[in-house]
Symmetry: C2
């Protein structure tokens, strides 16, 4: 135990050993509850450790054991939808399993994403949770990382990559279920509002939409789609869209962001929901309750996704030491929550 200025430095295993009159190895084993150490010695050492406020140095431990009990989370951005819930889930699962989470944001830039992946390996993160940036078309950098032996699990924004394990929802299927609900409620003329066409998440959901209306014998003339490239332009886009298709009785919104902005715009236009226009969305299930009327949606739980991703990853990390079990992809369930924004439409 040394003194720096007025501060007592952290007690180490050696300090405890000296105090207890045993060797450092005995202390190490005692604190790890190793079977070769007698009960008497263990309790004596534990008492001293407590008295000295002993805290193991996790860097030293990691250095020795090659395990940091840390996962890195790399997100394209931190917004107010979905992401907080997902973080909550990740944190919960990680904490339950004794893992810590380091959080990074790539700001939707491929270069930053690469740099952060690299940095995560410098930190010796035991595993990586990665949600891809918008620019991440080519995934060579991920491939490289996987080859280096670090478990990488994609989540939410997984690009087109079936080559890597990831946790996602079935965007196409979920969208199809939303469409099915509109059909059940008698709607035959509705629109689909989608995000940036370059994103795989948009493409999945849009293809689900098109396939569903096709199955129902409807054409894209009857059920047109709107792709919103710039969220700031949604106001004009939406007005133009509704003006071009004045007979729509409902809208499908592919995300929370589109939902709140669309809802706002409709309020501003004086359109009553659901009397004049019904709404159904894919949502993480929070914002629908803030809006009025409450929005019928397909609940895509951020918590669930985060929790499952962190659980899968940490389990794989533990398993890795034994067999070389590979990470498994998963497609999460979404659940239809019928609230107040879709009305029964009477067909003429």
């Amino acid at each position: 135990m040394k003194f720096y200025g007025h501060l007592m430095s952290r007690a180490t295993i050696k300090d405890i050993a000296r105090e207890a009159g045993v060797s450092p190895s005995t202390v190490s084993r005692a604190l790890a509850d190793h079977s070769a150490i007698s009960g008497a010695t263990k309790s004596r050492i534990e008492a001293i450790a407590r008295r000295l406020h002993y805290r193991p140095n996790l860097q030293a431990k990691s250095l020795r054991t090659h395990s940091t009990k840390t996962i890195a989370l790399i997100l394209p951005e931190i917004n107010s939808f979905f992401v907080p819930e997902m973080m909550y889930g990740i944190n919960s699962a990680a904490a339950e399993r004794g893992f810590s989470v380091m959080m990074f944001q790539s700001d939707n830039q491929l270069e930053r994403e690469k740099a952060l992946l690299w940095y995560a390996t410098e930190l010796s993160a035991d595993g990586i949770l990665l949600s891809l940036s918008e620019e991440s078309e080519n995934l060579d950098h991920v491939q490289q990382l996987v080859q280096s032996g670090t478990p990488v699990l994609l989540l939410d924004k997984t690009g087109r990559a079936e080559e890597f394990p990831g946790i996602t929802i079935d965007g196409a299927g979920t969208t199809a279920r939303a469409v099915a609900h509109l059909l059940e409620k008698g709607h035959r003329r509705f629109g689909g509002v989608f995000g940036h066409p370059a994103l795989s998440i948009t493409q999945n959901r849009r293809s689900g939409y098109l396939h569903a209306i096709d199955q129902a014998g409807l054409s894209e003339m009857q059920c047109p789609t709107l792709e919103v490239t710039q969220i700031l332009e949604i106001s004009q886009n939406l007005r133009r869209f509704l003006a071009a298709f004045p007979d729509l009785t409902a809208l499908f919104l592919m995300s929370d962001e589109l939902m709140v902005h669309t809802h706002h715009e409709l309020c501003a236009m004086g359109i009553r929901i659901p009397e004049q226009l019904s709404l159904i969305a894919i949502s993480d299930g929070i914002a629908p309750y803030y809006l009025h009327p409450n929005i019928t949606h397909l609940h895509h739980s951020g918590f669930e996704m985060g929790y499952q991703a962190a659980r899968t990853l940490t389990d794989a990390i533990k398993a890795q030491k034994n067999d070389g079990t590979r990470l498994k992809s998963a497609v999460l369930e979404t659940k239809l929550c019928v609230l107040d924004s879709v009305r029964q439409h009477l067909q003429l």
Copy 2:
């Protein structure tokens, strides 16, 4: 360089040294751009490092240098308001300064908060950002940590603690400004809606409210307050409150959460905003734009708070090595954003 199974292990400084025919110390200095190493050697070593995909082992470095370039962030919860913006700010400032952020949540439990603080020191976090749990009345655990030499900076939820440095907003002053805006707009009968009375954040804002109406010569009979203990009960609370004080022309909402719930409830009651009732809130400036009409609010930037907190903390960490500069508290500005939810009230 060793081989484990089919995987090549990470190259170390020793590998580079062997390859370059120099000693490990030379490699270390070369990569650190130390002046004692010749330019020729430096570039030779850098080339080899690149070729071998060398990544420094940060655990080893930390062990040697007693600096992890890491800060721990401990939050009571991760919700959809304010917190994501704050995290974004923290991450941005940390990243700019070469720090990583480990994220933990105390779930509003004092015991977990204590455990996490302890764990953060085991991780040798260079500093800690702490937003207090609801249960954290007594701050002995923080005191203990500070004495151990770890820089701790409170943010947002700082309790009643003036003894510790923290980043906050002026809750009382901000509330007073909101009240002033209502007064300017001619309102003389309005209500204040507040959160759980045990929270210091509530107490600050409420005292600001009471002081402001007192200054204006109004009584609590004329400008009553409502304290919402359970957010789920806001519906009944609000209806009862409005029934008890039917002559109110405006409401002040102390937080985003109260704002969205109140707005929703008023919509459900068919009360038109701002024609029948004006609203003003303290908000992080995101949700006000989702609601219709857009809510006039005092903008309390989560990004700003997070950014400033992380900047202050990392600067202090760097300074600590030289002088023992102490962390400085700061009270952030809030800005009045006049939108569409407060109407001019004509007095009789």
